[in-house]
Symmetry: C2
Subunit: 214 residues, 2 copies
């Protein structure tokens, strides 16, 4: 823990402050529209100070992207124990993935939309994590299909759709919007269950379909 003046788990050091500043700037304006001067200023430093803590602007992007991808993978793994009942497991997985994108929509925006600016080497590392996220979601669906309780004609396509719903949150979600992170997560988890249920399957114990509002 004493390798650096501030441990990497400590968010108060200059290094972490720069990562936070870069996250805010990249999310707000995009990687290419963000200048190193902008990042340094948000962190309360001169432009040169950035390079004492990080080797380049791209390295900052990589750190944000890597941490965000690992966090997203972590939350869906923790929400999806192998022995859970398929509907509950799908519900929990989609809910957790959506909730992460809503609550961390600033980081999520960088994670989902700025990957093209990564170096070739860094992108390869990120793609591995993305594949694991995709595989996990697909496995959750496959478990329900194998147990005969999901009716899913196109498993990879439905996987893609469920991931897309949450990913797109990074584009439109706002802290000052009308929807809470929890309410969107509940909604998308409900929609996920609706997507996979067979014809006679009720949508969920918690949802009263007679309460129709606009």
């Amino acid at each position: 823990m004493g390798d650096r003046p501030n441990g990497s788990a400590n968010g108060s050091g200059a290094r972490s402050r720069l990562v936070a500043a870069a996250t805010a700037a990249f999310a707000e304006r995009g990687y290419h529209a963000t200048t190193t001067r902008d990042i340094a200023a948000r962190a309360g430093m001169s432009p040169a100070a950035l390079y004492v803590h990080h080797s380049s602007k791209e390295e900052l992007l990589f750190l944000i992207s890597r941490e965000g991808h690992h966090a997203a993978l972590r939350v869906i793994r923790e929400a999806s124990p192998d022995d859970a009942e398929p509907f509950a497991r799908l519900h929990a997985t989609v809910r957790a993935f959506t909730l992460w994108h809503a609550e961390h929509h600033t980081a999520a925006r960088v994670v989902q939309y700025e990957g093209a600016a990564l170096s070739e080497e860094h992108r390869r590392e990120i793609v591995q994590v993305r594949r694991e996220i995709d595989r996990h979601m697909r496995d959750v669906i496959i478990a329900g299909v194998d147990q005969g309780v999901f009716a899913v004609p196109d498993v990879p396509g439905t996987t893609l759709a469920l991931l897309s719903l949450a990913v797109d949150l990074a584009r439109w979600y706002r802290d000052d919007g009308r929807r809470s992170a929890e309410s969107v997560a509940d909604l998308y988890a409900d929609l996920a269950v609706r997507m996979v249920r067979a014809d006679g399957q009720p949508v969920a114990p918690s949802v009263d379909s007679s309460k129709i509002n606009c």
Copy 2:
């Protein structure tokens, strides 16, 4: 028709060639990472020639964004006649919107992800069209709810989800990928029907859902 050397419906003039070049460049690298030199070179011109036909790089973005938004609105309106049966109407609307995003994924990417780079005035104009797209999709859902054949607890949220599915195509769809535009459109139209159907409603929809009582 003779106001300009090349009418605006003609895609062969220098002006249209620059719009096409800018669309490809913005989609591939993003607005801010694209230089006016890139655009001019793709159109086979010198950097200065761009300014003979367009007043700025931002104007090119606006032309692409405006045309794309109007095209997307047009396709869903044409797919959604007011008197159609609700399930068929929803299916056709989601199918058309998804198909447009897949077949025009290059323009769609600019339309959906580069709006932040528009000038304040241009953004206001684009936002109006986006509101009309949202309203149209919502109205298609409301029609099914009002007729008692859809069971939708959260209409604005479900509207958002359906739009999100297609929008996110602009992020991941590739011409050389495994899925055809039609197959994704069919899949998402099917998922849309699954999202709104009541517990006893079969997935395969079409003409015979007028017997559901509510």
